[in-house]
Amino acid sequence: MKKLINSVDTFIIEQLEGMALAYPDLLRISLEPKYIVRADAPVAGKVAVVSGGGSGHEPLHGGFVGPGMLDGACPGEVFTSPTPDQMLACGLEVNSGAGVLLIIKNYTGDVLSFETAAELLYGEGAPVRTVLVDDDVAVKNSLYTAGRRGVGGAVIVEKIAGGAAEAGYDLAQVAELAQRVSINSRSMGMALTSCTTPAAGKPTFELGENEIEIGIGIHGEPGQRRIPITDADALTTLLTDEILNDGAYTRTVRSFDPDVGDWIEQSLTSAPFQPGDRVIALVNSMGGTPVAELYTVYRKLAEICRARNIAIVRNLVGAYITSLEMQGFSITLTRVDDEILRFWDAPVHTPALRW
């Protein structure tokens, strides 16, 4: 295993220490428990937006903390959901009184931890709401699985929620908008190579010289299927078609309602993409794929969307939600309206996203 770390036990802490040193004006970092908050948190009168998830997906989520995006982020161990005590401490620190929105990627561990944290935060008197991100079309149904995974859509949801919170939306409004962005997002990813978790010290899965994995998540889990390697256009077409041809997707989402002080269940349906849709396109590196290769993907994606009369009105090309040093890419498309677009364009100042 070749990595720039000092030891398997200390590297997450050391990465956080490095971040703290690199962004003293932007971030404040707690190591015990681990969380990252805006240097100026809590921001008076503003809804706080908090997310979190396993480490190994950087810049997600810590790299998105700062004005215009997240107020706080909780990193877990590598590919392991963070724990409720982190979320509780982080949430309390960023809550200005206007409440906390928890953005949760749909993985059993994340969901269970955030659910517990929501209850704890509420118990401490913080208004709290939750929004679920479950955009990975590689997972086909929710009746016989844990539901779709949260992947690239999280980046878009965090940006829009952060923008709305900065603009003065109240907790219910930010939550409603964030959930709307989430159900209008669809993603799919693929791996050219495996990643290696520091603890395991060897690749999570073995891929032959000419094999690739389609429909992967972001934790080095095996994907939907393994196929012989093909070219960038074919891969882009494969992933884009899965996204664009994905039908209506209905699932039951639990979210915390601070007005009733309990969980409510809602059936939410993602409508398929249609000609005339306007979208934000994220072409994302899994970590080890350099940005130049992503442009070849973007080229084909733009061509397919044009042919289908889907207008890419904004794009983001780079490494935003990764699986350590894995090579591969994912595509996320989010259907937008003017309100969403306004908050996408709103200023943001974080380590990884800035405009």
């Binding site: 392991t80 959901s81 724990t83 409720p84 269970l112 590689a138 844990a146 978790t197 939907q224």
Partner: protein, 215 residues
């Protein structure tokens, strides 16, 4: 025979040791159908539990289980951390301020824990999760106790049923947790959480058997 605080502490120490020994094995199982972190995470978690307990020996069982549950929740991460954490928190509410458990108490404590797992995770038998161990194992324990067998023998039956439950996950298609994303590809692999659950119940049987021997 009563299960004392000391026996429970021994049990948890054995769990920590056996999970640490099986860390790579469990992580490999998780690599096949999950995200390759199960062994590392629960070994870390139970290690922390044992450290915490060592600092405060001889607590009433409710406090002991609560401490274990909170520690697991804040150190493991992932699905299993929350589920095992919940297991002990629920066990704690039944154990209360007892310092020893008779057979019926033990069964009630374990069943409360299992119900906590099911309540949080909403998995059913057949979903290829740790529930596939806990449900048949505690059914076997209940049956053995109801048949009047001594605790040590009943726990041995419980561990055997756990082992069968664990093996039974191999041909299953996962419906809950990370493995469910694999669909058909999850078939043929043993569930990592079921495996750690078996090791936990195996350690309980061994701890009590050892105690029994000494008596």
């Amino acid at each position: 025979m009563m299960i004392t605080t000391a026996t429970i502490e021994t049990w948890l120490q054995r769990v920590a040791a056996v999970l640490d020994e099986n860390k790579s094995y469990l992580t490999e199982l998780d690599a096949a159908i999950g995200d390759a972190d199960h062994g590392v995470n629960i070994a870390r978690g139970f290690g922390a539990v044992v450290q915490k307990l060592a600092a405060q020996p001889g607590q009433p069982l409710g406090a002991l289980f609560k401490s274990a549950g909170m520690t697991l929740m804040s150190t493991v991460g992932g699905a299993s951390g929350m589920l095992y954490g919940n297991f002990f928190l629920k066990a704690a509410t039944v154990a209360g301020d007892r310092t020893a458990l008779d057979a019926a108490d033990l069964l009630a404590v374990l069943e409360a824990g299992r119900d906590g797992v099911i309540q949080r995770g909403r998995a059913e038998v057949g979903d290829k999760t740790m529930v596939d161990v806990w449900t048949p194992a505690l059914a076997a324990l209940r049956a053995a106790l109801e048949a009047g067998l001594p605790i040590a023998v009943a726990l041995e039956k419980c561990a055997s049923a756990a082992e069968e439950g664990m093996a039974a996950t191999i041909p299953m298609l996962a419906r809950k947790g990370r493995a469910s994303y694999l669909g058909e590809r999850s078939i043929g692999h043993q569930d990592p959480g079921a495996t750690s659950s078996y090791l936990i119940l195996r350690a309980l049987a061994d701890a009590v058997a050892d105690e029994h021997k000494d008596v």
